[in-house]
């Protein structure tokens, strides 16, 4: 025979147990969502093959009295703000030991103002950094840079010292292997890493879907 009192006592317990199960499901959902976000943040952009020697056809100047650092950036990529921030930190730490330049992608058909975004202004404000437009990403192609925030470091002889990103994750500022490596190279001539992943928006237009193979 069922005990009505026991039922009454069990009801709140059951209710709370139900909520606890829901809470566990919620936690799983949150962790999964956060995981997906983390996965996105830590998924680097494409990295092209290394360009070991300063390309001859480039219009970008190579410093003869020291290393040259070039960052390829998309002027509207929000993730690149972190890369510029890290560049600012880097430039402050190396204090004139490098000629730095930020090259902003601009589609050929777009006007001058298209690239002059807040990122442009932020880059221009970094001491020792020059800014210029990369029409239709031709220079980026020469240096095999396909992701905004991609950095290449060449010595005065035009030899590649470093390539990759200088942020820890997509759009995240803070200590990271890329910045440390560039700093070490400029300060001490060697670094633990010479290649790092780059986190940012693709510089080139998305590739058109490949045509279906003819049968």
């Amino acid at each position: 025979m069922p005990n009505p009192d026991a039922d009454c006592l069990e009801t709140p317990v059951r209710k709370e147990r139900g909520w606890a199960i829901l809470a566990a499901l919620w936690a799983v959902l949150v962790i999964a969502g956060a995981g997906m976000l983390m996965a996105y943040s830590y998924t680097p952009g494409e990295t092209g093959p290394a360009v070991p020697v300063w390309p001859a056809t480039t219009r970008l100047p190579l410093a003869s009295d020291g290393p040259t650092l070039v960052m390829f950036a998309h002027p509207k990529c929000p993730c690149t703000r972190a890369s510029l921030g890290e560049l600012e930190t880097l430039m402050a730490r190396v204090q004139g030991k490098v000629k730095a330049r930020v090259v902003f992608f601009r589609p050929e058909e777009e006007g001058e103002n298209w690239a002059e975004t807040d990122l442009w202004r932020a880059a221009s404000a970094i001491p020792g950094v020059e800014v210029q437009v990369d029409s239709d990403g031709r220079e980026a192609e020469l240096f095999e840079a396909s992701t905004s925030g991609h950095v290449v470091l060449y010595d005065a002889a035009g030899h590649l010292l470093f390539r990759g990103g200088i942020t820890e994750a997509r759009g995240h500022r803070g200590d990271n292997v890329g910045r440390w490596s560039v700093t070490d190279l400029l300060r001490h001539g060697h670094a633990s890493h010479t290649v790092t992943p780059t986190f940012g928006c693709p510089l080139q237009d998305p590739a058109p879907p490949s045509p279906a193979p003819e049968t």
Partner: protein, 524 residues
């Protein structure tokens, strides 16, 4: 040491109050966090839209994943705790879920702002806000979430990407250390706050206990007062009834005394009537009618020779002398009889007068009528006039002219009769001669003062204060009603009755004072 039952009760109540306050605080904080999480969600969306609205690929753009994360992940993150706060407020599960959600909100906001160091302050603010729960376990949950998040993101994820940890391996520990640093202070503050709450609960419990005691005492006292009040009311009603009965008894007693007095006076007069009637009867019975009959028989026997009889019989020679003596005797008897009959008539008239006067005063009392006080005093004397004569008491009158007053004539007469009778008894009981009763009517101080003085037995000082008490009397045949009922009657008409005596055999004076309505104190 054993605790008293009172302390145990206060302790139990204090615990209940403390737990109730804790629950109320948790529910209140749940509601605050429901608002905060909702606001943070909207803020996250704004930040995402502001900082990274679009992701670009060359010249093409699409909505940034951060916006989706802010809307969807932020919505899930805030939605469930808000639901819990609304549906299960105050439950431990709710606040622990809220703690986890708040810390994850910090992580999301930090992420959306590109890892800005300033956004990390959100963690410390959130910890302080979570301390509102005054539950150290909630801080523990929050801290665990922060530590795990930092460990996974700071250690595991960069390692998976770079092959090595980006920051130093202990960086996550450093971050967690700062969180624990804040936790330490917050836990201290929570402990102090809980101590204060406990103290407050105990004080409130003691206060409630005290109030309950006071309320009980007030209720008991109120019940007692109510009971006393009811009893007092009953006693008052009984007193009023007794007073009424007493007044009625006094009135009846007074009426009885007046009736007794009247009967006594009538009886005395009837005695005189009886004496007069007896004397008249005796006189008539002793008249010489038989001798006259014998003379008439003798003359009828000699009716045939009446002349010879008168001339020759020697008895006839005595007839003139006999007739002369008979006439003398009959005249004397007639005079005596007439005298007694006159006395009889006078006494019968006296009886009629007494009865008439009694009938006059036997009317219902309580009626106000304009009364000549001197005449009223005279009436009271007339009702006792026979007694004064018999007991050889001289009555002296000293009446001033006083205004007629509207009062209860019967009551005043009853008082006066009592006073006059008392004076008469006092004179009777005394050997003082001549026996004198003095009645004075005077006016002064806005009152009419009627004094009845005698030179009789007097009143010893110890009896003066008891003279008006019910049942107090010095006479063997007395009942102690007269003066008491007189005093009550006087009080009813708004007057006063006082007594003065210089002691035994020094006489006494009773003064009846009746206020004159609507007059200022006289200055005469």
């Amino acid at each position: 040491m054993t605790r008293s039952p009172e302390d145990v009760a206060v302790g139990t109540r204090a615990r209940a109050l403390f737990e109730a306050q804790e629950l109320a605080n948790s529910r209140r904080t749940d509601r605050l966090f429901a608002w905060l999480l909702g606001i943070q969600w909207l803020l996250g969306i704004l930040v995402a839209v502001w900082v990274s609205p679009l992701a670009w690929e060359g010249r093409w753009s699409h909505m940034h994943i951060h916006v989706w994360a802010a809307v969807l992940l932020g919505g899930v993150l805030a939605g469930f705790p808000i639901l819990l706060a609304l549906r299960l407020p105050g439950a431990p599960l709710t606040r622990h879920v809220i703690a986890g959600a708040q810390m994850m909100s910090s992580a999301l906001l930090i992420h959306l702002t590109g890892g800005r160091i300033e956004t990390h302050f959100h963690i410390f603010g959130s910890l302080a806000f979570l301390a509102f729960y005054r539950d150290g376990r909630v801080l523990l949950t929050a801290t665990i979430v922060v530590v795990v998040d930092h460990y996974l993101r700071g250690a595991f994820w960069p390692q998976s990407v770079f092959g090595v940890a980006v920051a130093t391996p202990w960086r996550w520990m450093e971050h967690s250390g700062w969180v624990l640093f804040e936790d330490a202070f917050l836990l201290l503050a929570i402990r102090q706050s809980l101590d204060a709450m406990r103290g407050l609960a105990e004080r409130q419990a003691r206060l409630e206990h005290l109030n309950a005691n006071i309320e009980n005492q007030v209720a008991e006292r109120t019940a007692e007062l109510k009971k006393e009040n009811t009893e007092r009311k009953r006693a008052e009603e009984a007193l009023v009834a007794a007073h009424k009965d007493l007044l009625e008894s006094s009135r009846l007693a007074g009426m009885a005394e007046i009736a007794t007095n009247v009967l006594h006076n009538v009886g005395n007069v009837l005695n005189s009537v009886n004496v007069s009637a007896a004397l008249a009867s005796e006189c008539i019975r002793k008249s010489d009618v038989q001798n006259l009959d014998r003379l008439a028989v003798m003359l009828r026997e000699h009716e045939g020779d009446l002349a010879g009889f008168l001339a020759k019989d020697p008895r006839a020679a005595q007839i003139p002398v006999f007739l002369s003596r008979l006439a003398e005797h009959l005249r004397t008897s007639q005079e005596t009889a007439l005298k007694e009959l006159a006395a009889l008539d006078e006494n019968i008239g006296h009886i009629k007068e007494i009865v008439s006067m009694q009938q006059n005063y036997a009317k219902v009392s309580g009626c106000q009528e304009v009364v000549d006080l001197a005449a009223l005093v005279e009436d009271s004397l007339n009702l006792n006039v026979g007694a004064f004569t018999r007991h050889r008491i001289d009555v002296i009158r000293d009446f001033e002219t006083v205004p007629p007053l509207s009062l209860d004539k019967h009551k005043v007469l009853q008082v006066l009769i009592n006073l006059v009778r008392n004076a008469k008894y006092a004179c009777d009981a005394s050997e003082n001669v001549p026996k004198t009763i003095t009645l004075r009517v005077a006016r002064g101080d806005g009152r009419v003062k009627i004094s009845v003085s005698d030179n009789g037995i007097g009143i010893p000082p110890e009896n003066l204060s008891r003279i008006f008490q019910h049942g107090f009397t010095t006479r063997e045949e007395g009942h102690g009603f007269g003066l008491h009922s007189s005093a009550l009657a006087v009080r009813e008409i708004g007057g006063s009755l006082s007594v003065h005596s210089d002691g035994l055999n020094r006489g006494a004076t009773f003064v009846l004072e009746i206020p004159i309505p609507n007059t200022q104190p006289a200055h005469d």
